[in-house]
Symmetry: C2
Subunit: 191 residues, 2 copies
């Protein structure tokens, strides 16, 4: 590996946000999942939780998604245990969900440990997920169409989260502990 | 048409932004074009300029894109005349383009009449387009992957444009002239 490559890996690891993640609640189109994972990489997310059927997961793994190598996608067969796990680790759970009770997505504090939950293409976020949320947020729709593409909605929330975290200085110093940092530097350095 | 439907059409027209548009420079995948048009509707854009082959345009028209009815997609066979037309109407031209000279996308004033130019999936924004731009902007990439999906990048810029326009009050009063308003209210009222 060239020294430039090594320096680039280190620079990216130094911006990783171990306390920000996305959970996809049966987002089944692999191109949507791939676009979400790609956006996650771009804001420093290390791990995505995909609640998805095994078949759709395999399709996703089979895509040549460029971010697959850089963002770990953990598959979960069902949602509630995945959310319970994050909750017990201290994450606030924020669903992107179109309901009257939802707040504007810019009103949430994403500098806290946060898991952003995205809903399925047709069904949206499941009721059992909504019941577990700390908040629901929407990207206000000013036109005739009711919803955005799920990867577009995810990117909109992530841009806001990134902006808040930039302002709070969360990209200014490395946030990984030594063990995690070394683990990923080693893994990424493999050919 | 129910009075509720009529009221909804009017409310949406009252938020339309006649001086904000998107130009796609050979974005050829119809699902990307459809996602962009859907995001455009959500921030009040009335017209998108798609520089695209006739075949890809036909594929797009054939998709059941829910926003097709609400956002006019004007096809152009080539880019330079399309941009020249917008320029002569007083639009600033802003390309979403990954180059060292590009500014952060949040540094541009989108409250001016603005055309946002998005590049092709593989080739990006063409050199001839770049030469005509007022500015190039990027969404800073903090991870390993070099670029975002084009519809995700478009949505990120549009969220910023919408936020600036909200703060400037550009959604607070109807911005269409009487003729345009009546034209669209009539067209949208057709079954
Ligand atoms: C195509 S939408 C599903 C729409 C579904 N019919 C519903 O009403 O929930 C897929 C997912 O994208 C996200 N999404 C789409 N538009 C959104 C918006 N304007 N605000 C917040 N999330 C949105 C949500 O996570 C949603 O579950
Ligand atoms: C997949 S990218 C094309 C990348 C192409 N290889 C290049 O280097 O230009 C398709 C289009 O999405 C937009 N885009 C993607 N990521 C972007 C980013 N981080 N900032 C600004 N625009 C971006 C640009 O308009 C780009 O032309």
């Amino acid at each position: 590996m060239t020294p430039e490559r090594q320096a680039r890996l280190k620079a990216v690891l130094a911006k990783r946000q171990p306390d920000l993640t996305v959970v996809t609640d049966f987002v089944h189109k692999s191109r949507n999942l791939a676009a979400i994972v790609r956006s996650c990489d771009s804001v420093g997310i290390m791990q995505v939780h995909a609640v998805v059927d095994e078949e759709n997961y395999r399709t996703y793994r089979g895509t040549a998604a460029s971010a697959q190598r850089w963002v770990e996608v953990v598959r979960h067969a069902s949602l509630v245990p995945a959310l319970a796990g994050l909750k017990s680790q201290g994450y606030q759970l924020i669903a992107a969900h179109l309901t009257d009770k939802a707040r504007d997505y810019r009103e949430v504090d994403y500098t806290k440990p946060t898991a952003i939950v995205m809903g399925a293409e047709i069904a949206g976020v499941s009721e059992e997920a909504v019941a577990l949320m700390d908040s629901c947020v929407t990207v206000p729709m000013l036109g005739m169409v009711e919803s955005l593409n799920v990867s577009v909605a995810a990117a909109t929330l992530l841009a806001e989260a990134r902006q808040q975290r930039e302002r709070a200085g969360l990209y200014d110093t490395c946030r990984l502990d030594g063990t995690t940092y070394k683990h990923w530097l080693f893994a990424w350095s493999q050919p």
